[in-house]
């Protein structure tokens, strides 16, 4: 009822009836082609420059970054991060096959559980889908292996990211997302795509920026160099 009323009111205001099939085809093309608009220069550049920019951008929004040369070093890097910051050693791991398949057992002091976040969880460790150099943004998808609550509930969020996942512009993420989901069934969005740029913050009290409003107080990135460029 309201649907017809609203669509009718829109058409009446625009002074035309429902669009013709041809017109709709043209509009459909805009959607199916999904062309990128202006992409800023800061989102482009040589690989080394982009990785450098990613580092600068994430640090500018109060992330901390640690570089490791191999994914095997991730559990150790996480353990060290928790120790250095006097954080509890209980962590919630995303059930992601790759992440949980790393050698967490080697870190005897760490107690890890796997699954979505519980209300009292303090530390979470998750993978990411991509990192965007343009603004130092991490992209996380919802899914069986990477529950969304792990990005928001715990106080301290650690993300294990590979340099091969770092792209320049957000548009490259959409390209990857469309490919990743196609799998012969057509593109399907996950329930949530989180674009995360630094830890939680607010300026609602006296316009002073404070971290840790409701989401994580800090965001730590363990960056795995899996591109191994020569030189």
């Amino acid at each position: 009822m309201s649907r017809d009323a609203i669509l009718g009111a829109i058409r009446q205001s625009l002074g035309r009836p429902e669009l013709s099939t041809d017109a709709k085809r043209g509009l459909n093309e805009h959607i199916t082609k999904h062309r990128a608009n202006v992409i800023p220069a800061r989102a482009k550049g040589a690989r080394a420059d982009l990785l450098q920019r990613f580092q600068e951008m994430v640090e500018a929004v109060s992330c901390t970054v640690e570089h490791v040369s191999d994914e095997a070093a991730v559990p150790g890097a996480v353990a060290e991060y928790l120790r250095a910051n006097n954080l509890p050693t209980q962590l919630t791991l995303a059930p992601d096959a790759w992440l949980s398949g790393l050698d967490w057992d080697s870190q005897s002091l760490l107690e890890s559980k796997s699954g979505p976040a519980g209300i009292d969880d303090v530390v979470s460790v998750t993978p990411a889908f991509a990192g965007v150099a343009e603004t130092g943004t991490l992209v996380a998808l919802s899914g069986a292996g990477h529950p969304t609550t792990l990005n928001f509930v715990p106080d301290y969020h650690v993300v294990a990211l590979k340099t091969s996942q770092v792209v320049g512009a957000y548009e490259e993420v959409w390209d990857r997302l469309r490919q990743a989901n196609e799998q012969g069934h057509g593109f399907a969005m996950p329930r949530t795509v989180n674009m995360i740029t630094g830890p939680s913050r607010t300026a609602d009290i006296a316009l002073t920026i404070e971290l840790g409003a409701h989401g994580p107080r800090s965001l730590h990135i363990v960056l795995i160099d899996d591109e191994k460029a020569p030189g």
């Binding site: 009111a9 209300i119 949530t192 674009m195 409701h214």
Partner: protein
């Protein structure tokens, strides 16, 4: 739910009196707390935006493209909304088309009742404010829990938002400390916190359980994407994400003009939104939500509902104020408005404030009810200058003024004044005589010091300023005299003077 304690939404309604603009302004100008809070706008948000814009050489190009995209969508709004609906449903979502605010309220209520909801967490949504959702939920024994820190603060204060981005921007730090002590003491927080980190932390801890207990989570949407049937929220705190992920049901409440065609198009807007709103390159959390949780997901809502509200937007299409539908609700115009800086948001008595509110509110609430809003502006144009989608706000304000004038809504004294002025302005001879008389009179009145402290019919001016006295004779009078003298000299003297 304790009735007495849960009336914030209803109490906030008492502020919604746009007709009381002048009285509100007077009170605001005398409110020292408000003035010190407003002073921070100039110190912070304005240079922050400029800095962000300066750091992105492509900003103007993106802004232009954003404007084009909005114009394109508005011209094909029916198509894009239908496309959005189709894809939203394909992802398992439900779309509710609501012509009026009441339709939207009833739709929300029905969804809440379906799960016997007792409490509802809310992310910041201006459309939810527009339909006065909190008051409605309270009346139906459902507790709305504001989670955005600014909205939480004003909920405690029982006030409406005073800014579309920073709802509690009118509160000083001390006022927040007092509010928290007053309301959190019964929860065991008996120590008055004074520093922002401690205040933020206290709110964080208190709201944590509320997120998990809520049956329904309601957010707004900065954008809807037709291509994927998704909604986007742009936040910094993470409250919007906790609100939409933990409860059984996620309701998005938004208005028709928010839809954009593709992910790439949404990205263009995302590049200009945070920069215009807060001076950030990107907000901490920008989340694209599509449908309920999928098979295999271990968290996320079981139901996803999108409330599409019209409430006057379809009527704005194709009208004189059509361009206002481009608005991406960044708040830049509000921050830069000299009137807003002086009197703050509550003076307007409407949900949407500042320049964008002065153009949008008459469309939503009617010209007569909001007659002060388009008039209380110097038309300085700063708003249009900083609008990332180039809305010609001064022109639209003038259009409302013309509408009011044609409808006879302009105050009588003003109409007479204008008629008299126009009468003289169209008769130069009479104008000249009147001017010479009036200016000699004023010059004489101000002869002692070259200015007047008081002018009986111009109290609006002289209450706060002196009125400089005119020189006495008018320019045209002296010019003609000079011309005549020169002619006479040329006739008599011949040759150069």
């Amino acid at each position: 739910m304790a009735k007495a304690a849960k009336v914030a939404g209803s109490r906030a309604m008492e502020f919604m009196k746009p007709g009381a603009f002048k009285d509100n302004a007077r009170n605001a100008l005398a409110d020292d707390n408000l003035r010190s809070a407003m002073a921070m706008l100039n110190a912070g948000m304005i240079p922050n935006r400029q800095g962000a814009v300066d750091r992105l050489p492509e900003f103007n190009l993106l802004s232009q493209r954003g404007r084009e995209l909005k114009d394109h969508v508005l011209g094909h709004l029916d198509y894009y909304l239908e496309r959005f609906e189709r894809n939203c449903k394909a992802a398992g979502g439900q779309v509710h088309w609501c012509s009026t605010a009441e339709d939207a309220r009833q739709a929300v209520l029905k969804i809440c009742r379906s799960v016997d909801a007792k409490s509802v967490t809310k992310g910041k949504s201006m459309v939810a404010e527009e339909i006065h959702l909190n008051q409605f939920l309270e009346q139906h024994e459902i507790e709305p829990v504001e989670t955005d820190l600014g909205e939480y603060i004003i909920q405690l204060a029982e006030e409406p938002p005073s800014h579309i981005i920073g709802p509690a921007i009118h509160k000083t730090k001390d006022q927040v400390s007092d509010l928290f002590l007053k309301h959190h003491a019964k929860l065991g927080r008996t120590e008055r916190q004074t520093e922002p980190p401690a205040l933020v932390n206290e709110a964080r801890e208190i709201l944590r359980k509320k997120y998990f207990d809520a049956d329904v989570g309601i957010t707004g949407a900065n954008y809807l994407i037709a291509e994927t049937g998704s909604s986007i929220i742009v936040t910094n705190e993470g409250n919007g994400d906790l609100t939409q992920t933990l409860p059984k049901i996620h309701i998005v409440i938004t208005s028709l003009e928010k839809v954009v065609p593709t992910l790439e198009d949404a990205t263009t807007f995302l590049r200009i939104l945070a920069r215009s709103a807060t001076g950030q390159d990107f907000s901490a959390y920008t989340t694209i939500s599509t449908g309920p949780r999928r098979d295999g997901d271990v968290d996320g809502p079981e139901e996803y509902h999108v409330i599409l509200l019209d409430n006057g937007r379809s009527a704005m299409l194709g009208s004189e104020v059509h361009d206002m539908l481009r608005c991406i609700k960044c708040g830049a115009c509000i921050n830069h408005c000299p009137v807003y800086q002086s009197v703050g948001g509550h003076t307007y008595g409407t949900v949407y404030v500042g320049p964008m509110g002065a153009v949008l509110s008459p469309a939503l609430l009617g010209v007569a009810e909001t007659k002060h809003l388009p008039c209380a502006s110097t038309l300085c144009g700063r708003c249009e200058e900083v609008c990332p989608v180039s809305i010609p706000l001064p022109k639209l304000l003038r259009q409302w003024r013309a509408r009011a004038f044609e409808a006879g809504d302009t105050p009588q004294l003003e109409r007479w004044g204008l008629s008299i002025w126009a009468f003289f302005a169209r008769r130069p001879w009479l104008y000249g005589i009147g001017a010479r008389l009036a200016m000699r009179g004023l010059a004489w009145l101000g002869r002692e010091r070259g200015r007047l402290r008081k002018l009986w019919f111009a109290g609006g001016w002289t209450d706060g300023r002196d009125l400089p006295a005119p020189e006495g004779r008018t320019f045209q009078e002296r010019w003609r005299q000079q011309q005549q003298q020169q002619q006479r000299q040329e006739q008599h003297g011949g040759g150069a003077v």
